[in-house]
Point group: C2
DNA sequence: TTGTACGCGTTATCAG
DNA sequence: CTGATAACGCGTACAA
């Protein structure tokens, strides 16, 4: 007889408990919580008191079932282990909070299969919308999302003819600009330590951008000048060492992100090289790390926080059917720091 | 007429839709999903097919309501902006996943009031248990948790007589050991750049540990030798500069974590000081950053990932009423690196 | 092995 | 302004 326990002080209190205590119906309590204005001042106070006494918190499942809404958005990010996403996601959370929405975070470990699994989990939790990183994923994922009519936005990437809503910047153009700068400084033998490009459009677009800039200058990114590595300090270091093992050595090494660049920097020091005198090194993203290392890293500044906030707003707009904000594409800019200089060095 | 739409291909399919399509009852479908062994092979296949066709995902709210269980744990961490928590939480997630549980993450920004709010949110989402960082928080929070009978564990902290379940290490002892090492190297004027100790027992315990070691050696941590700072590169740099402004300067600066230490390192370079010749600097946590900077940071190694995994197991044990694992307290150890040397330097 | 029927906590409709 | 009451999707006794 479940209904029989009238005073179980320990269990989670329900709407009905509150109603009983306040001497009103459950409907009134519900209204008090959702539309306070539609309840008489005095009743409202009585209910508020009962809520406080009992420490009542609405049951999320019940609410979701009845209202078919969760005020929750989901995000699947490659990893939390990177300041980029950590910072951007924090901004997403803050922006959503202003609209009384919550963010559920899952990570995929850069694996599209795992990502699909996490998306399914989030959907079964009834998220009102989804925030995904980048554009590269199986078509089946997109089909499912569209069939289900789940609002979603793609972040950290942007191109004019992307068929989906995306909020971010043009990775290719940014990388091209950086490479052009390096070329303009006199470098002719340029190498790249890229992130793993498989199912990662940010990584592959950055490679493409570098390649374009080189070719526009009559140079090329030979196969022995391009190494892919997971985004880790150690990976960056190992890749740098591999690049130096050849007969000739590049005078500039462009890295797919700041973490790789910091690893390369460390490896350079280990090999007794002076940066930038012997070799220039650049990063990408402009996380704190870029300024913490010595020499400080020349890199590409990306407005992670503003992007995250904009993505959140776009997602809410999609959900509410209101017009999309127009600040979906962001500009990056090159940050000149110690690790990059002209070649040959003075 | 909600029930009237028999073939709404777009909306979210329900158990009933699946049942209809497979020509069985909803109970059978439910069993297929939860106890496959109790269903005949052939029926199971038909149901599986229907599930696949419809792209069915169980409705979380409905399930939570019916089973009063969510297979979800909640965690409130101070910030995602720190590799410590990012890494530890990732381990928590992985460990929970092996038990088919999910983790909901919220952040408090080091604010106990915000933390209480986030806890309420997580509870209303029906989490089966809670993972909290450190021990310092209002008594009211603990009272509520206990009254509600919510299983919870405290992580990143540990002391023998903690009244709650905690998984971590003795911050005070670790800091004491590090300070003792510094003293043994000959340093006599030692300063500390601590994290903000207000409502942060890890930060204050680390200060206490340093103080104890100094006093045991007949030294003291004068008020002008202790600065609190938020955990940021910039804060560490500013604090270091402040420490150097006095008439005399400390020969060793112990920092509350690696980020502060990296900031101090940068400030030292800015002031034209050589580390460790002019001043030694130490960190705490041993995150990647400690090895990325130059000189590399002497620090205290903390097994974040193992701690996270252990915390997850403890939480599951609490929920299931099984005996707690006994690997709740972890040992740290000092990592000697370039930034720390004897005094006076050779 | 399978089906029927009820209840979980909430919202929303409708009547008072 | 307030109260009854019918959904919402799922799990699970219980019956068949």
């Amino acid at each position: 007889m479940p209904k029989a326990s009238p005073h179980s002080a320990s269990a989670r209190p329900s709407l009905e408990d509150v109603a009983r205590r306040a001497g009103v119906s459950t409907a009134t309590v519900s209204r008090c919580l959702n539309f306070p204005s539609r309840v008489r001042e005095e009743t409202r106070a009585r209910v508020a008191q009962a809520v406080a006494d009992l420490g009542y918190t609405p049951h999320f499942g019940g609410r979701a079932l009845a209202s078919n809404r969760t005020d929750t958005m989901g995000a699947v990010i490659p990893t939390m282990d990177n300041a980029i996403f950590a910072r951007g996601i924090q901004a997403v959370q803050e922006e959503l909070a202003t609209a009384n929405a919550t963010l559920l975070i899952a990570s995929s470990g850069y694996d599209p299969v795992q990502e699909a699994r996490e998306i399914a989990v989030l959907l079964s939790r009834g998220v009102d919308g989804l925030l995904l990183i980048g554009e590269a994923r199986p078509a089946s994922t997109y089909e499912m999302l569209i069939k289900r009519q789940v609002p979603f936005v793609l972040v950290w990437t942007w191109r004019a003819d992307c068929p989906h809503v995306c909020v971010g910047f043009d990775n290719r153009a940014a990388a091209r600009a950086l490479a052009s700068r390096v070329i303009a400084l006199g470098h002719r033998d340029i190498a790249m330590i890229a992130g793993v490009t498989d199912w990662n459009d940010r990584a592959s677009e950055r490679v493409a951008g570098v390649r374009e800039a080189l070719e526009a200058a009559g140079l090329a990114l030979g196969p022995d000048r391009l190494i892919e590595s997971e985004y880790s300090l150690h990976g960056g270091a190992a890749a740098f060492e591999a690049l130096r093992r050849g007969a000739s050595a590049p005078t500039a090494v462009l890295c797919g992100n700041d973490v790789l660049a910091a690893g390369a920097l460390r490896a350079a020091r280990g090999l007794g090289l002076s940066v930038p005198r012997d070799v220039s090194i650049t990063g990408f993203d402009n996380i704190d790390l870029a300024e913490a290392v010595h020499p400080s890293l020349a890199t590409v500044h990306v407005p992670h926080r503003r992007m995250g906030a904009a993505a959140a707003r776009a997602l809410l707009a999609l959900r509410d059917g209101t017009p999309l904000p127009d600040d979906l594409s962001f500009r990056t800019h090159i940050i000149s720091r110690e690790s990059l200089s002209e070649w040959p060095a003075l």
